[in-house]
Amino acid sequence: MKLSSPFFHHSLPTNKVMLLVILALIPGAAIQFYFFGYGVLINLILCSIFAVTAEYFVLYLRNRAPQEVLKDNSALLTGILLGLAIPTTLPIWMTFIGTWFAIIFAKQLYGGLGLNPFNPAMVGYVLLLISFPVEMTAWMPSRDLTANQPSLVQSLELVLFSQTSSGLTVNDFRTLADGYTMATPLDHVKTEHVLGKMSSEIFSKELFQANQNGWMWVNFGYLIGGIYLLFNKVIRWQIPVSLLASIFVTSGVLNLFDEELFSSSWFHLTSGATMLGAFFIATDPVSAATTPKGRLIYGASIGFLVVIIRTFGGYPEAIAFAVLLLNLATPTIDHYTKPTIYGHSKDQQDQDDDKQNGTAANE
């Protein structure tokens, strides 16, 4: 018997919320598996195992009843998100470093679930991207392009030993029949633009179109999962909607400015991790803004940064950087977007806030 009211309780428990998010990842992950092969599955399994063992290890060191805490499924979710974000043929030891770093440094060292200021999966991803840029951008071309997708055994060999028993490396699989190595569409567009090519040239190539097609379907899968989460009220609409709208508007404005230099909104919305980021990564409640207005600002800022970094930055994909940057800004956003409490006047509340800040500064 509970000691004090309310005695009623009704909501999906936190561990089920996490499970539901994992469930909602299935359509996107399945499409990703279809287009990019067994590596997706291998990554998911490896990352899940590494994430859970890392969490267990730290909880054990911290004397925090590992079996109980692991039931919240949050480490599993972090692992799965990271597993979907890394290239399919990433060597196992890199995956291990990324996942353990994400769980231990980005989450448990801050105190565990609910206390981490940064999205753990994205911290792991960025660590890997900055440390191993070549391996982290070595994505397979999508299924329609390549005649010889690695088989399950070959994928395992690539992950474990970086080459198959017949001596093939990742780049051999990425090279198309005409000797052309296919990068991800985002990467490709970026390189070609740097080389001075026009958008019309880049986008008209059939090979590029076919590759982009795969990524579009992957994004579509995550969109379906995201809508499922929205309808089940696991996530609220503010972050994904403002994020996608902001990507649409920012890239649209750039595209209107010069369509030969800047890719279209459609391309930005259907490329890379846009949908995965909008519905599954930016919506991580722990590190995101919490007030309704704050969430709009948070989502819109991520969308804006994604387009800016993709277009002008040094890396082809920007979801992880944009999310981490906005994680930094979250406390400030939350502070300035507090809702007006019942019966308070807006001005009065702001003044009180300023006073509070003033005294805090003086102290």
């Binding site: 018997m1 509970k2 309310p6 005695f7 309780h9 609910g114 206390l115 019942y342 019966g343």
Partner: protein
């Protein structure tokens, strides 16, 4: 006036809110009835906000039903009357369901056979339409009426507010399980309306609005019927007299019903006001600042009983419900009736129950000591299975999961607070920012804890925070006083020391002076010699003078 629609939709809405399962049909089917009196009653002296009442009967004294047994002597408080005729068995500490679990002062009554209500204990009045507001208020005060919605604020004090335009009758009854107001409106709408008219007359309100949730269609239709009858009666008086302005109907407050969508906690006073008027009560102000007065249905019914029937408040309508109750429903239960008596009467299986809930499941109180009596604030008693070996509707106490800052609590908060921040500061005991976040605006409705996926007992954290902050403030005041006292004592000691030093110095100086004088003239001989010399001089001078006069006289001769 009669052309105005009787029923309106609520204009406003409030932020957040939740939709818990209602469980109201368990108890709202049966008609209101009374229970056989218990043989032993425990009547707490503090059943209201304000000072505890002082007993005015002695142990062994025989009291009659309706007799005043404890009165409010000074300040805010309420009278208490004997709910049954009987003998005062004891006056002293007893389990009364205080949240601390500690016994508080109470009067114990042993029932005897005479059970007639002695209405002489309340002063006789003329018809209330002819009485003055002061007399009516006095009658309400004498009857010991307090807010029966659960707040138990003395009604007489609330009716003193000036500049009231609208009386809102709070019939929302938004908590699950509770149906006593619903039943009262279904069965006695005209009595509640008359009670509201009395209250409106006292504060000079020009309109009365019944605010009710749309999940009580029967209560709404019976209210509507009663209001229509009153309007028709008024119309006919106007028609027959032909002079509407002179008839009493012209000054009658208008009656309306406002229906709000079912959402918890629409029955909170501030939420009701926001629903009905679309306005919020400004911070630190009373509803009177908007020209509003809110009264609960049961309170108005007890006003009707006091003013029209001269009946003091000795019993109330209580919803007895829960899955272990035989014949759940609404019953008139005298104050002081112990839960043990109800457990027997309603054949509740003691083995399946570890605690009862007084009030609703969202804001009520769990009581595991069944000696606890029914008081003026008890609107509902829930007996549900609570033993852990059975499948329980109440969550068992277990360590909660971590807060993931999902903000579902923020979406549910009717006051627009950030419950996750309140939890954060309360959990880390940062009292100052906790207060700045608006902790004392929290109405403890429990909507946040209801939706929390991590099952954090949020309200418990807020209560803890509130009590700690209050305690700190009291301690601070105490420390301030002690500091002042200490500083004054230091000052006083210093002053005394200084004065003493001054005194000593003065005395020393005097002694020194005296000593100096002594040194200059140790025995005063010199002075004596001087004086003697002076005398001799004077004598000589005198002699010389007389000689010269003699000489001159001789010369003249």
């Amino acid at each position: 006036m009669t052309d105005l629609p009787i029923i309106e939709k609520a204009k406003g809405h409030f932020h957040g809110g939740v939709h818990p399962q209602e469980f109201k049909s368990i108890s709202n089917q049966a008609e209101i009835s009374a229970l056989p009196s218990p043989s032993n009653l425990v009547i707490p002296l503090q059943q209201h906000i304000g000072n505890a009442s002082q007993p005015i009967v002695n142990v062994g004294e025989t009291v009659e039903k309706g007799q005043l047994i404890a009165s409010c002597t000074s300040g805010l408080g309420a009278n208490i009357h004997a709910p049954v005729s009987g003998i005062v068995k004891s006056i002293g500490p007893h389990h009364t369901g205080h949240p601390s679990g500690l016994p508080t002062a109470a009067i114990e009554l042993e029932t005897n056979d005479q059970q007639n209500l002695n209405s002489e204990y309340l002063p006789r009045l003329n018809h209330w339409r002819e009485e003055t507001s002061d007399n009516l208020r006095n009658c309400i005060k004498n009857a010991g009426i307090v807010g029966l919605g659960g707040a138990t604020f003395p009604t007489e004090a609330k009716l003193k507010t000036a500049n009231i335009k609208t009386l809102i009758v709070n019939a929302m009854e938004c908590e699950p399980y509770i149906t006593c107001d619903d039943r009262l409106l279904r069965e006695h709408p005209e009595q509640v309306i008359e009670g509201s008219q009395i209250a409106a007359k006292i504060v000079n309100a020009t309109e009365i609005i019944f605010a009710i949730e749309d999940n009580k269609p029967e209560a709404i239709s019976s209210l509507e019927k009663a209001i229509r009858l009153i309007r028709e009666a008024q119309k006919s008086t106007i028609d027959s007299s032909g002079e509407p302005k002179n008839s009493s109907a012209g000054t009658e407050p208008s009656l309306r019903i406002v229906i709000a969508p079912t959402k918890y906690p629409s029955g909170g006073e501030k939420q009701t006001i926001e629903l009905v008027t679309g306005k919020q009560v400004p911070k630190d102000q009373l509803p009177a600042s908007l020209g509003l007065l809110v009264q609960n249905v049961a309170t108005l019914h007890s006003i009707y009983n006091a003013v029209v029937n001269q009946k003091p408040l000795t019993e109330r309508l209580v919803t007895i419900t829960g899955d272990l109750v035989n014949k759940p429903g609404n019953y008139w239960i005298p104050f002081g009736t112990k839960l043990t008596h109800l457990i027997e009467t309603f054949e509740v299986d003691r083995k399946k129950i570890s605690a009862a809930i007084l009030g609703g499941p969202m804001m009520g109180q769990s009581i595991s000591n069944f000696d606890t009596p029914v008081t003026k604030s008890t609107n509902c008693i829930i007996f549900n299975r609570t033993q852990s070996n059975e499948k329980s509707w109440v969550i068992e106490t277990k360590p909660h999961q971590a807060c993931i800052r999902c903000s579902e609590c923020q979406q549910a908060c009717p006051v627009d607070l950030l419950p996750q921040q309140l939890y954060w500061f309360s959990e880390s005991k940062q009292w100052e920012p906790l207060e700045k976040q608006g902790l004392f605006d929290c109405i403890e409705c429990g909507a946040c804890a209801y939706v929390c996926p991590s099952e954090i007992p949020l309200v418990h954290y807020y209560r803890f925070g509130k009590s700690e902050i209050r305690k700190n403030k009291a301690n601070q005041e105490k420390a301030e006083k002690a500091k002042q006292r200490f500083e004054f004592r230091e000052m006083r000691l210093a002053r005394a020391k200084e004065e003493r030093a001054m005194k000593h110095k003065k005395a020393a100086e005097e002694r020194k002076k005296a000593a100096n004088n002594q040194q200059e003239d140790p025995s005063g001989k010199q002075a004596a010699i001087n004086r003697a010399l002076e005398r001799v001089k004077q004598k000589k001078a005198g002699l010389a003078q007389s000689q010269t006069t003699q000489d001159s006289g001789e010369a003249n001769e």
